[in-house]
């Protein structure tokens, strides 16, 4: 289980780094924030996780925020998808999976929990 999870997380991160736009897990928006008197545009980008629900079904915190154990949202507190396409904070679903023996089920749909490959 541990190995497959690490693999899942690496793949997930790679996916996020390698695409800019049509990634099915996060989406980027370019935005121009303002005009300054020196005549330069400052372009910034913002991203949000592309999950169907806005909040994690386990901790009930926003996906754009982080799980209760983390202080900052972002790559240190990633989202993870199950084979059933339900998303959770990685830290939240890990706590659930580790508390369930031998087999954990998805908290939302009760299908056997598998990390999306």
């Amino acid at each position: 289980m541990g190995n497959s999870l690490v693999a899942a997380k690496e793949k997930h991160n790679l996916k996020r780094q390698s695409t800019f736009g049509d990634d099915n897990e996060s989406s980027w928006d370019s935005a121009v924030m303002g005009w300054n008197p020196h005549g330069k545009w400052h372009a910034v980008a913002s991203w949000t996780w592309d999950a169907q629900d806005e909040t994690c079904g386990i901790c009930r915190m926003a996906f754009d925020g982080c799980c209760p154990d983390c202080k900052l949202p972002g790559d240190d507190c990633p989202l993870i998808w199950g084979a059933c396409n339900h998303a959770f904070h990685l830290h939240c679903i890990l706590k659930w999976v580790n508390s369930q023996t031998p087999q954990a089920h998805c908290p939302m749909c009760r299908r056997e929990w598998q990390f999306k490959g």
């Binding site: 079904g57 386990i58 901790c59 009930r60 915190m61 209760p68 939240c92 706590k95 659930w96 508390s99 089920h105 908290p107 939302m108 009760r110």
Partner: protein, 195 residues
Amino acid sequence: MVDFARVQKELQECNRDFEVSGIKVMPKSDANLAHLLGTIPGPLGTPYEGGSFKIDITLPDGYPFEPPKMQFATKVWHPNISSQSGAICLDILKDQWSPALTLKTALLSVQALLSAPEPDDPQDAVVAQQYLRDYPTFMGTARYWTEAFAMTSSLGVEDKVLKLVEMGFPEALVRSTLVSVDGDENMALEKLCSG
């Protein structure tokens, strides 16, 4: 460690649609969010209709990864609820718990259990036997218990005073006794009778 941030959110959300659901959850004291009191209305068309049932809720350290502990504080006559202790036999409060469930959805399930008894998987064997062998008597007892234990607290203070005064107790004594037991009519009666 209980995820109190989540509990706090749950309380706000649950009480926000109290008007629709009739379900309420309150902390027993402001200092401790691990001990709560839930209230569910008896479902319409059942012998529990019109009753307001209180449920003691204790959150284990592992909440929401472990189910909340719930038991009826109001006496209730139902095959899957102990008539002695109020213990509830309901799968989602045991092995079918999911962290996506909340206090509100769990209380909704308890309310649904009141509508749909499962006498083949009883918590109270005496009640279950009665349900299976003598359904009219079961209905009568369940209704009587609802009227005796689940409807009194919905009376206004003046109704309670009037009721006890009609039993022959002096009004001043009735009022002071009701205050001393926090408005609980049954406890007030007990206290008045014991002198």
